[in-house]
Point group: C2
Chain length 409, copies 2
């Protein structure tokens, strides 16, 4: 597996203080799925009445647990629910064996917690193409069940890490009619992060009461502006999974008009998405790519992704080189509409290119100084229309090569 | 500019012995466009009656000389023609100034060689976004004119290099009705090599006699199977240019039925395309990605490009890791159709994955041994239909980061 020698320089100062979400309990265990000397399975137990919405990778070679989750996500139930996640093995591209392994795990969890099997959601993350040793997970279910606790979310965030250099958590409170709804989430992911959702697992919990259809439409809309707007290396995992569980324990119902709740959920999702980029394999810079003036939001997104995925742009950022020519190149190749002579580019506050050529006030020295920052903004205005998009990425460094030329061997 | 310390380990043994093409003369000069101590301008003088076909980058931010070439390529003329190329400065994203600079160069060449300006094709390659010091080029035109020689093609190949670590040339003979047609070509390119034609300049010369429409349709068809099937880093240049000039000096006319000529032209184009990949920035492995069993050739091409462009696949190859899980991932994300459980994968002769899961005979040790080869073949059969494609790429190494984190600064 990857050689991880130190925490990303872009990591937050520490794991945030996440609130207890009524109706959710966590436990973790070291099952030895692949890793030694660390926890690698987490269980979340969700109270009766919990609704679970989700979003998943669009990969054509999705892993068995993803297909299983997708099939279950639309079903209503008043029963409780559970989420079980292992790290170390993705149970992906394992054929019929993969389906059987997923079923073995979810059936055993259902029996242990006395739930219908359709209410047990599972994820697996790690190596692709090796059979999941599911017996090692099910052998630990009694222990997992016996240690469930409402304050176990940080331990859960740690148990699902693979090449991550820090655990990822985020929380917020939302006040509706003087009453408080809590939202807390965890995520893992640092490589294979790209186009259709980042390569990652994300679990968000709230004590709001929400109809499945309301929760699902919020999650789908917010996913498009958060996890689908980050990229580390343009590679898309076969296992991307986002689950949002609303336990209803606060008694406060949210509807499609609950702007405050949706904004709170958006904050948590965006924060976790940014943390995944900040743990991008080998990352030393956190980069926002902002595109305005496109013919449509969709075309703006295509341009932003093209810039954020370009190896030449990303290596220039690693080298602290204000090489805006490569930004022009990335726009040109994106496939979306652009007019070279209407194009303006800013690096942070610095106008680099003004309507098709280098700005008369541009100072390479000043731009090079800006590039030394850890957080960078590249802004492109296409000068064509009202379409906008924002995407977040990191630089491409030697450490990315180190991590990925050796993973698995 | 890039730190180039040594010739690519994938380079051919030496520059090939290219034949003289009747009707073509070359000269080169050190004009100091950007580089010191080396030639950086080449001129090719083409005899009256020469037809010139071409293919160009589809970038929306194409450079001025590319737009100028495209406008001229379809025009018939019995006059001679010329190709002038400088390295060091791409004259791209230079606004109105770029158009003026291109015109200044082509007008001066036309005057020096007594040609219509519409018959002077120019290319520029190098840094983007800086004004082309065209006066340095035009100041050398008399010297270029006075030193034109029919045996100058190798020097021309050297003058157009930028980050290339070796000059690229290829030639073949074609016999039609007992008479010989000669074809010889040169190319430059090593980075920013991707989707819609590689980032490169290619000039091919033949003494065949060919109608423009015949030559153009051959070049377009062959381009789709050669230069558009290579990728180093998925980045597409704003300056990609392929020109094929047929002088007619052999007196032998080729038609759309001249299968032998087309095959000869294909050989030269494919050889030059492979040489560009072999000079891929930081490359240590030359990789053919072959996809069969897709729903269509187009979908096979999408899958092949997705594999060949994946940073995770390319770093695994650099690490000599038979990480076929990443090949599965790249197929899944490509957007073209795939059925996980119909998928088979070979690394060279080794069947790795058989219809959706690891082959029972697979030996990781044997596969790891295969990955130590310098030339690798990854073959994927989708098991869906008759569509096929082949794409060529290289691995992604530390040297790519070194070259590109420092270029320009």
């Amino acid at each position: 597996m990857a050689k991880i020698t130190s925490v990303s320089p872009l990591a937050p100062a520490g794991f945030p203080d996440l609130p207890v979400i009524d109706g959710v309990r966590f436990s973790t265990v070291a099952a030895g799925v692949r890793y030694a000397g660390r926890t690698d399975v987490m269980l979340a137990d969700l109270a009766p009445g919990t609704t679970v919405a989700g979003a998943f990778t669009r990969s054509a070679t999705r892993a068995a647990p993803v297909l299983d989750c997708q099939a279950k996500i639309g079903t209503h139930s008043d029963a409780g629910a559970a989420i079980i996640v292992n790290s170390g093995n993705a149970n992906a591209f394992t054929g019929r064996n993969g389906i059987d392994a997923t079923r073995a795990v979810t059936t055993a969890v259902a029996a242990a917690l006395d739930l219908p099997e359709t209410r047990v959601f599972s994820s697996s993350t790690g190596v692709i193409g090796e059979p999941l040793p599911h017996g090692r997970i099910t052998a630990k279910l009694e222990e997992l069940k016996d240690t469930l606790a409402s304050d176990g979310i940080e331990a859960a965030a740690k148990a699902i890490m693979t090449t991550d250099t820090f655990p990822k958590g985020s929380a917020t409170d939302v006040t509706i009619n003087g009453k408080t709804i809590r939202i807390a989430g965890i995520a893992k992911g640092s490589g294979m992060i790209a186009p259709d959702m980042a390569t990652m697992l994300v679990y968000i919990f709230t004590d709001a009461k929400a109809d499945l259809s309301v929760l699902q439409s919020m999650v789908s809309a917010l996913n498009a502006k958060t996890f689908n707007c980050i990229t580390v290396d343009s590679d898309t995992s076969t296992s991307d999974t986002l689950l949002v569980a609303a336990t209803g324990a606060s008694g406060i119902e949210v509807t499609e008009d609950s702007v405050g709740f949706m904004e709170g959920l958006r904050r948590v999702m965006l924060d976790l998405a940014h943390q995944v980029v900040r743990d991008g394999e080998g990352a030393t810079k956190f980069v926002e790519v902002s595109v305005t003036g496109a013919h449509s939001d969709d075309e703006a997104h295509v341009h932003a992704k093209s810039i954020a995925n370009s190896p030449l742009v990303k290596t220039a950022i690693a080298g602290e080189d204000p090489n805006w020519g490569r930004v022009v190149m990335a726009i040109g190749k994106s496939g979306a509409r652009a007019d070279r002579d209407a194009l303006s580019i800013w690096f942070g506050p610095i106008l680099v290119a003004d309507k098709g050529w280098v700005s008369p006030d541009y100072s390479e020295e000043e731009a090079a100084k800006y590039m030394k920052n850890q957080n960078l903004v590249i802004h492109v205005d296409l000068g064509l229309g009202g379409g906008t998009a924002r995407v977040w990425t990191c630089d491409l460094t030697h450490a990315y090569i180190e991590i990925n030329a050796d993973y698995r061997s």
